[in-house]
Amino acid sequence: MTLDTVKHATETPDASQPWKELGLKEDEYARIREILGRRPTGAELAMYSVMWSEHCSYKSSKVHLKQFSEKKPASDAMLVGIGENAGVVDVGQGYAVTFKVESHNHPSYIEPYQGAATGVGGIVRDILAMGARPVAVVDPLRFGAADHPDTKRVLPGVVAGIGGYGNCLGLPNIGGEVVFDACYQGNPLVNAGCIGVMKHEDLHLAKASGPGNKVILYGARTGGDGIGGVSVLASETFDDTKPTKRPAVQVGDPFQEKLLIECTLEVFQEKLVAGIQDLGGAGLSCATSELASAGSGGMRVDLDTVPLRDATLSPEEILMSESQERMCAIVEPQHVDRFMEICEKWDVIATVIGEVTDGERLEIFWHGEQIVDVPPGTVAHEGPTYHRPYERPSWQDALQADDAGALPRPQTSAELREQVLALVSSPNQASKSWITDQYDRFVQGNTVLAQPEDAGVVRIDEETNLGVAMATDGNGRYAKLDPYAGAQLALAEAYRNVAATGAKPLAISDCLNFGSPEDPGVMWQFAEACRGLADGCLELGTPVTGGNVSLYNQTGDTAIHPTPVVAVLGVIDDVTRRTPMAFAEAGQLLYLLGDTAEEFGGSAWSEVVHGHLGGLPPKVDLAREKLLAEILISASRDGMIDAAHDLSDGGVIQALTESCLRGGNGARIVVPEDLDAFTFLFSESAGRAVVAVPRSEELRFTDMCGARGLPATRIGVVDGDTIEVQGEFEIPLAELREAHEATIPAILA
């Protein structure tokens, strides 16, 4: 096969090209020809196709995502916003934190272990590329029905992959989610988040400037992994009949990544890099074009110098390869030797593959012949923008009219008790420790709180006890009923979870998991969720620092529930003041904060007892969320509460069960006068939490709530070894524990 050089392309303008197979549309191909003033070479076509794919270019989503910038709340905390590998937030004392959530949904369905593992690897490199030391990971997960046979294939593999990779990197896993719903049957959601910490001055940006600076590729050798994976996997639902020449599955090597992390942190520390970029989706195509276009534009790369694992790879394939555990650094010539020494110290292969030029074009050569000559910005940033049509689905009204409030409620105390046990033992409400015990939560010795606490908290400074907190949440059932409110409820819940530990929420990242954007109904869900999230962030004062969009999550024509997952980052000045969720001390008083209304739409109760999804999700009141958070933070700082647990799916009874079991103490509960027992126990009204108040602090605490206008209702006391709801029922903790903890092992064993 002759090499398709730039010269050859100019001479053979009419040669037919596989743009369609590469996922490009006719007008996109025409646009590439227009940009170049000729037909693209094979290598150029590969680069454009992969960079203009949905996954890399956000072509369907970006018109909606821009609200996150347009409606950005004024916040002093933001150091770097959307657009970089990850956003960066000031957390005080000279520290900055970077964090992000990404999806690896489709690969994890095909090969659960490796798909999930490389998902963790990718997000960790993103964080590393900002100049930060990764300090913790989180993993929001969604699977098909718990009792479906395929869940038994997918879930253990995903969990083992996340654990296998994260544990081997030495990153504590401090939180996440596990949700089961038939809508994710053929399309599990594997989202992974990472938090990194740095000093302000260590911030590194992905740009290549300074002509003469060297482009260094370091880390694993390049192989045939995931070639075309980005465009094929992310832009269409996969059908496994399509023949693939190269493996679509990438295999992760966490050991290599651990070396890459240590090596990279050391070159940062010695200030040897001028710019840096991780290699993720679209591999070298992405890294070189983004580095060049964010810098002054000019870069020359000799592609034949790239160290290969497979000598038969063509230049196009090398450009598109998604081999894991690679990074690309821009290094001034005088630092190259030292850079190489550090790589050698860590057994990391490093190669100068090119240099920054004073031109404005990205030029790539193969054995001396030019195969790419493009303006890098057109590859990296000027991909197509779609204004896809969207429309409220015709079924939405009927769904909302199907009010969960009309479902039959328990008639007797015995029935109520039965439904409590059914709830806390249902797969979605049951303990997830079978899963989370496979994750190392102790490594690095800074974990203050981790699952099953409301938010993970890690210490970032041993001297001052400064710490950061993170929680991730998303409720696809709520979002299906109302995507605008659903997105806000996800935000509110994660925000509340962070505040419940005593940390102040600062900023968010998100992972927006939706069906096909070519379906106007799905597109409407997406647009609504973005609007809801942007409006919510503006009101709560928590900017969106970055995130990820995963589309085409569907099986055939059936999309998953719209599933916006929100990660909220918070800061806590003194981790010794953190509030855990366990009711650890008998005699402490239990208070319910917030208002409880009859809200059952999308609730766990409606799902578990009636298999029902309909009506409206709980009402969103962000001003109330803010007030609740302020109270929780003040109370933690001033030592007024010993435990706090946010209320979300499953309502009061779920929260009481979790806090009692964790503390090994029971509770005597009195139903508040203005509520019936059923509503009190099962409603999912937002903006609420349960706290345990030492008697000595009761007055101070209730005075504070009263003064600030937050309803605080005394609902009982920590006591005994049962949960007793007076006048209704009593359940021994042992029985609750069995119900809560046996479900998941029984399904997966």
Partner: protein, 227 residues
């Protein structure tokens, strides 16, 4: 003079920083050691920390055992240098035949991370002097290959000589024979265990207990008394 506790970093070691911190909190001078460097830099004791050295790819500890630093550690351990192997460090010590037996994949085949109860069965080693004989402690356990095995004769010998240093209580988390969580060599200077005392040295962090700190204070006292 302060006591110097060295902690070896192999490629893929994860808990080296924690072990250095634990040494510091116990009052020792923490000294990082590097796998390629044979020189132990006059340390008075060595900790082989947890992690996945070389990815644990062949067998846990199998590749590290052949590193330059281990040549010196093996030699000096035989001469009486206190050496503590935690988790991956324990695996390295068995691969290096400083301790008998071997570590295999957990019987349930999963990585497991939990707060684990142990009984200190031998409070006479270099690393356990600050515990009471029979004391029950709780420290984090986290591993994939934690199942201790040895042949019957070796096990009987370990028992007879009081060289089972720690035993799992309540549940055996990985199928280790005779509930063995940690062992010592005959001289009592080389100790290996799967659970992680270095993760239990500060209130509020991890499980919030400090049950692991006596490992580090024990060796300190022993060394100070000896000098």
């Amino acid at each position: 003079m302060t006591t110097r506790i060295g902690v070896v970093t192999f490629p893929g070691t994860l808990d080296d920083q924690d072990a250095l911190r634990a040494a510091r909190l116990a009052g020792a001078e923490p000294v990082p050691l590097w796998h390629r460097d044979k020189n132990l830099h006059q340390v008075d004791a060595v900790v082989l920390a947890g992690g996945f050295s070389y990815g644990d790819y062949l067998r846990a500890g199998a590749i590290s055992r052949f590193s330059p630093v281990m040549e010196t550690v093996i030699e000096q351990a035989r001469a009486g240098l206190p050496v503590l192997g935690i988790c991956n460090g324990f695996q390295i010590l068995t691969e290096a035949h400083l301790l008998p037996g071997a570590m295999l994949r957990n019987n349930h085949l999963h990585f497991i991370c939990r707060d684990q109860k142990l009984r200190v069965e031998n409070a006479g080693t270099a690393w356990t002097g600050d515990y009471e004989q029979g004391q029950e402690i709780s420290v984090p356990l986290k591993n994939m290959d934690g199942r201790y095995v040895a042949d019957e004769r070796t096990l009987d010998e370990l028992e007879a000589e009081g060289r089972v240093a720690f035993r799992y209580l309540d549940t055996n988390p990985n199928g280790s024979l005779r509930d063995i969580a940690g062992i010592t060599n005959a001289a009592g200077n080389v100790v290996g265990l799967m659970p992680h005392p270095e993760h239990a040295v500060e209130p509020l962090i991890g499980t919030g207990r400090t049950d692991g700190l006596p490992f580090f204070t024990s060796v300190l006292k022993k060394l100070v008394n000896a000098s």
